[in-house]
Structures are given as structure tokens and as C-alpha cells.
């Protein structure tokens, strides 16, 4: 019961912490995108065309060694792009491992096959096939997540969105995504302020019911604010001449370095696809 109370007391703090983390992550990404690394130098369109196939191939490859090779390449690219490996380990590898590891753990014992190790007290055996499946699942998820995080960390979000148009995404969608991203931070700030002011007004402990009321009421305030804000943003857009049509300036330019790197990435992708079938 005490543990339950302790947990409840931490709800506001934990929500606050996750908001702050998200904001920090975003600022950190913006900083990393300004570094002078290999990925940062590439045209965002080239990056998308180069890395997206690698994500797909890593997620779908059938051979473990191909996935492992792609993972090594991802780490090399991260190092060349000045992305700290500690940060990747903490923010990507560990969190993917927690989830995927938990899911794939029972597969070690449940998959029929040749037993290689028997647990001392439970009498269940780890099978070679089970181990292979578990490692394969984890490696695939890790590699795909590393590539996608690298793509995002080394590209300013606005450029990435504009570059998404090489995938023939409708402009309206690109603009909506851009605005969504922009307003996520405003709403996060709003929510953060709400939780913080609530916390500063609270003396003593709130029981679970009260905590829930506070959390859902904040969600209600936020949705009201969202509606009001969208009305205001719309009027602001109208007053600047917005008539429903969206135009985006394309200022990207490719150089020899882009083409060389594209050739390298495409070769890696073709090789990985060929051997990973």
C-alpha cells in the first residue's frame, strides 16, 4: 500500500520528467544536426533515399550475419557523423533491448530444438533455435531503430520533412507534419506548466482518485486549448493570405559528395538485400 502511495505521488513528477526529456531530446537533435559529420553534410533527400532501404532491409532480413553487418555499418556511420555512442546506447539500444528482450525471452525456451543450456531450478532448457530467433529479433529491431534515429538526429526536422517529398508525399501532409511538430512543443510547454503549477499548489498527498482527476482534467484543458489555438492559427494564416493551397520552397542542392555517398549506401543496400534474402 505504501509503495502504491509512493508511486502515486510520483505521477506528476514522472509526467513532468517525460515532457522535459522529450524537449531535451528535440533540442539535442537540433544541436547534433548542426555538427560537421558525414550524414550532416548530405542532402536530406539523399539521406532518405540512402537510409530508408537500409531500415527496411534490416527489419526484414532473414540471415543473422547480414543484420549484424548492417548494425556494424550503422555504428560506423554514427561515429563518422559524431553521434556519441553512449547516447545511442542509452537512448536507443537499451530501450529497444528492454522491450524486444522481454518479448523474445520466452522464445528461448518455447522454441523446440536442440537444448544447449538447462536452467538449474526451473528445469527448462534454452534451445539453439530459440537463441537464434531471440538474437535475430533483437538485432533486427536494434539495427532498424539505429538507422532511423541516425536519420532523424543528423537532419533538422524541417529539412527532413521537405525532403520527404522525394517519396511523393502530398505537400499538404508535409505541411501538417511540420506544423504538428512545431505545436507539439507548444502543447508540451503548456502541459508542463499546468503540471508544474498543480504541483506547486499541492500540499500533502493526493489520493489516486484525485490524481486521476488532475491528469484527465489537464487533458481536457489541453484539448480545449488545442481547439482554440487551431482557430487562432487559422485566422493568422488567413490574414497572411492562406487560401488552402500550400507552397514549399525547395532549396536543396546535391554535390559530388552526395552522389558518392548515395552510391556507397545503395551498394550496401543491394548487397544486404541479396545476401539477406
Amino acid at each position: 500500500m505504501t509503495r502504491g502511495r509512493e508511486n502515486l505521488r510520483g505521477v506528476v513528477e514522472r509526467t513532468l520528467a517525460s515532457f522535459v526529456d522529450a524537449l531535451e531530446h528535440a533540442f539535442y537533435a537540433e544541436e547534433l544536426a548542426k555538427e560537421n559529420g558525414v550524414l550532416q553534410k548530405l542532402d536530406p533527400r539523399v539521406k532518405i533515399v540512402a537510409i530508408l532501404p537500409l531500415i527496411l532491409i534490416a527489419a526484414l532480413a532473414r540471415r543473422l550475419w547480414v543484420v549484424a553487418a548492417l548494425f556494424v555499418i550503422a555504428v560506423a556511420v554514427a561515429m563518422l557523423s559524431k553521434v556519441p555512442l553512449r547516447m545511442l546506447a542509452k537512448r536507443v539500444w537499451l530501450s529497444v533491448l528492454t522491450f524486444t528482450g522481454l518479448i523474445s525471452l520466452p522464445a528461448l525456451f518455447l522454441t523446440p530444438g536442440q537444448a544447449i543450456y538447462t536452467l538449474p531450478f526451473f528445469g527448462r532448457s534454452v534451445t539453439a533455435q530459440g537463441l537464434r530467433i531471440g538474437v535475430c529479433l533483437i538485432m533486427r529491431a536494434e539495427t532498424a531503430a539505429t538507422f532511423s534515429v541516425l536519420l532523424v538526429l543528423c537532419t533538422p526536422w524541417s529539412s527532413l520533412l521537405k525532403a520527404l517529398r522525394v517519396l511523393r508525399l502530398p505537400i499538404v501532409l508535409v505541411v501538417i507534419l511540420g506544423m504538428t511538430y512545431r505545436y507539439i512543443f507548444l502543447l508540451l510547454r503548456n502541459a508542463h506548466d499546468m503540471f508544474k503549477s498543480r504541483k506547486s499548489r499541492t500540499v500533502g498527498r493526493l489520493d489516486g482518485r484525485e490524481q486521476r482527476r488532475a491528469a484527465t482534467a489537464s487533458a481536457g484543458v489541453l484539448i480545449s486549448k488545442t481547439q482554440q489555438l487551431s482557430g487562432e492559427v487559422y485566422l493568422a494564416m488567413r490574414s497572411r493570405g492562406f487560401q488552402g493551397e500550400v507552397y514549399v520552397l525547395d532549396e536543396f542542392r546535391t554535390g559530388w559528395f552526395d552522389w558518392v555517398m548515395l552510391a556507397v549506401f545503395v551498394t550496401v543496400a543491394i548487397l544486404a538485400f541479396w545476401f539477406g534474402r
Binding site: 502515486l8 531530446h25 526484414l60 529479433l137 507539439i184 488545442t226
Partner: protein
């Protein structure tokens, strides 16, 4: 930990990369696209130029709501997807789009949920979730007043049902992987658990914790809005009357037939379902099946234990050689995967029928076009 949903561990259903086979990913992207298309068209018709800012704000809201820690009875906490609240306030179509955009940003920016599995995640949470939430809310709320307490209950139920049905879909998608996708040694290539493990494992967490988080958020948001901003809850019904008051759209052309096209595309994608069925279709035996002992057994079992004639019927044998199909058994010889063959056959077959009718229309239209000139 930065990632918003990781502390709920197994309770989340953002399927990561590498858990679903390429064909499952493709089918789920394919299934989601018509819904996105219809939702986008409907929301755009309703909002017109307001579409861009409203959808952007609501997507941002859905993203932020996914980060809320909701205290649950018993001292634990959970995260809500927010699909119940979004559907109740905005209606199912806008909610579908907003939750999808939020999931896209989560996947791309936060690495939460895979890129190859984004179609699956959007289908489960945004599309199925919104539809279920909408149906449950409408059924449970009935025609009660906007401020009725029954609406709070209805919204809570809608959120709870939405998240559980979405989890069931996710569990089924994961659970069918080992049935279809194994390597040469028989080991599963993607998600390793069969349906009898995947469904209970997924549903246990959702029926209890994750479902409750969604229930509290949906019900709580509606209760709060009833007290402070009931107009926001009424907006959805007024939007619908606006739509009803609008002059009817053109009853001919692309717009009128669009739902039919979408349904046709869906049916095409669903054709490989037939592969799942065991045994053969009764009465659809080929001439050669009568001489195959295994097929004979199946025919006997399907025909109330009456054995088929020992020789193949002569008329059947003669007629069966008259015409050999370009796609025997729904798959041309060069296609190795039966599922792909089915989809290809469906596209080819529907294309033939459509082409035939277009030809008739064109010929008839040509005559009609000629008719007025001659009369004038």
C-alpha cells in the same frame, strides 16, 4: 528514460521493426491507405481551408496525450493512446488521421514503433481504434443530452473497447507470423509466438492496465469538457448536421463511385484469405483430383463420407482439357508465393471485367454522342 511508452514494457502495442513479415507489413499498409484517403477527403470536405491548422494541432495533442502518466487503481500507472478522447471530440475520421500522424512522429522521431510496421500500428490503433470507439460511444451514449453523465460512461467504455480491440488486432498480426513465415529448419522468421500465446499475453495487460488508462482518459476528458466547455462536445453533432444540410454531392462520376472502388481494392487485398481455409472447396475439384488418394480422402470427408467414383467422370475429363487458364490455381507459373498470386489474380480479373464494361460504355457512349449530331 526518454521514450514515452517504454516504462509500460509489455503493455504497449507499438509493434517494432522486424516483428512482422514483409507481406504482412505490405498488406497492412495497403489496408490502411484507403481509410486514410477516405478520412482525408471527408475531413477536408468538412473543414475546407481549416484542415491544415486543425489537423496539425489535434495531432500534436494526440502526441502529448500519449506521454501522460495516468494513475491506475492499485498504485501502478499507464499510458493512454488518446484515441477514445480524440474520437469523441472530433469524430472517427479526424481522429484516425490525427492519431496516425502522432504515431508517425513517434516512430520517426522517437523510434517508438517501427517504420516497416507503421502501417500495422496505424491500422490497429488509429483506424480500428477510432472506428470501435465511435461505434461504442454512439451506441452507449444514444440520444442523451451533451451534459448527461451517461456520456462520460460511454466515452470511458469507448476508450476501453477501442484499445482492447486494437490490442487484439495487434496480437493476431503477431500470432499469425509463425504460422506462415518459417525458415528451412522450421524456425519462425519473425514474431515467434503462435496465436494461443500471443493473444492471452497481449490481452491480459490491455484488459487490465492499458485499457483502464484509456478508460480514465476518455471518460475524464468528457467529464471535464461537460463542466467547462460543453460546446466542444456538441461540435461533433453539429458538424454532422452541417454535412446533412449540405446539398447532395454529385451522384455520378468519380466521387459517387469512390466507395465502391475502395471496397473493390480492399477485397482484392483480402483474396489470399482463402489460403487460410483448410481442405478444398466442395464441388470445385479438378479432374485430376479424382485419382489422387489424398484428395479422394478429402472429397469423401466433405461429402458426408460417400466415396467419389473410382474413375474420373468422363465428361469432366473431356471438358476440363478444353480451356487452360492463364493463372492456374490463382497463380501464374512464375509466381512462387501463393498469396501474391491471389492478389495478382484479383487485380487481373477485376481489371478484365472493368475493361470489358468500359469498352461497352465507350461503344454505347459513342453512339449516344453521335445521336444528337444527327438529330440536329
Amino acid at each position: 528514460m526518454i521514450w514515452p511508452a517504454y516504462d509500460v514494457g509489455l503493455l504497449r502495442m507499438h509493434i517494432p521493426d522486424g516483428y512482422l513479415s514483409p507481406s504482412t507489413c505490405a498488406v497492412l499498409y495497403g489496408t490502411a491507405i484507403p481509410f486514410w484517403y477516405v478520412a482525408f477527403a471527408r475531413v477536408k470536405r468538412l473543414l475546407n481551408t481549416r484542415l491544415v491548422p486543425l489537423l496539425a494541432m489535434v495531432s500534436a495533442f494526440c502526441f502529448v496525450i500519449m506521454m501522460f502518466n495516468v494513475p491506475l487503481p492499485g498504485g501502478t500507472t499507464g499510458h493512454a493512446v488518446g484515441v477514445g478522447a480524440a474520437t469523441v471530440v472530433l469524430g472517427p475520421w479526424a481522429s484516425m488521421l490525427a492519431v496516425s500522424i502522432a504515431l508517425l512522429i513517434q516512430a520517426v522521431f522517437f523510434g517508438d514503433g517501427g517504420i516497416t510496421t507503421l502501417g500495422a500500428n496505424c491500422f490497429n490503433m488509429a483506424i480500428v481504434g477510432s472506428i470501435v470507439a465511435h461505434l461504442v460511444y454512439r451506441a452507449a451514449a444514444g440520444r442523451t443530452a451533451i451534459t448527461s453523465s451517461r456520456r462520460v460512461l460511454a466515452a470511458g467504455l469507448a476508450g476501453y473497447a477501442a484499445i482492447n480491440v486494437a490490442a487484439l488486432f495487434a496480437a493476431c498480426e503477431l500470432g499469425i507470423q509463425p504460422l506462415f513465415f518459417r525458415d528451412a529448419s522450421g524456425a519462425p522468421l519473425y514474431a515467434p509466438y503462435a496465436l494461443h500465446i500471443a493473444i492471452p499475453a497481449m490481452m491480459l495487460g490491455h484488459l487490465t492496465f492499458a485499457g483502464l488508462a484509456e478508460l480514465f482518459v476518455s471518460g475524464g476528458v468528457v467529464a471535464y469538457l461537460q463542466r467547462t466547455n460543453p460546446a466542444l462536445l456538441g461540435q461533433r453533432s453539429s458538424a454532422r448536421t452541417d454535412e446533412a444540410a449540405r446539398p447532395p454531392a454529385a451522384t455520378t462520376g468519380w466521387r459517387a463511385t469512390r466507395p465502391l472502388w475502395i471496397r473493390l481494392a480492399l477485397l482484392m487485398l483480402l483474396t489470399p484469405l482463402g489460403i487460410l481455409a483448410a481442405g478444398t472447396a466442395w464441388g470445385e475439384w479438378g479432374a485430376r483430383d479424382f485419382s489422387d488418394p489424398q484428395m479422394r480422402q478429402q472429397i469423401t470427408a466433405a461429402s458426408g463420407n460417400i466415396a467419389p467414383p473410382s474413375q474420373q467422370p468422363r465428361g469432366l475429363a473431356r471438358l476440363s482439357s478444353l480451356w487452360s487458364a492463364p493463372f492456374p490455381q490463382y497463380a501464374p507459373p512464375f509466381v512462387r508465393r501463393p498469396a501474391f498470386g491471389y492478389v495478382m489474380s484479383a487485380v487481373f480479373g477485376s481489371g478484365l471485367i472493368l475493361g470489358f464494361f468500359l469498352l461497352i460504355v465507350w461503344m454505347a457512349g459513342g453512339r449516344e454522342a453521335e445521336a444528337p449530331t444527327t438529330s440536329a
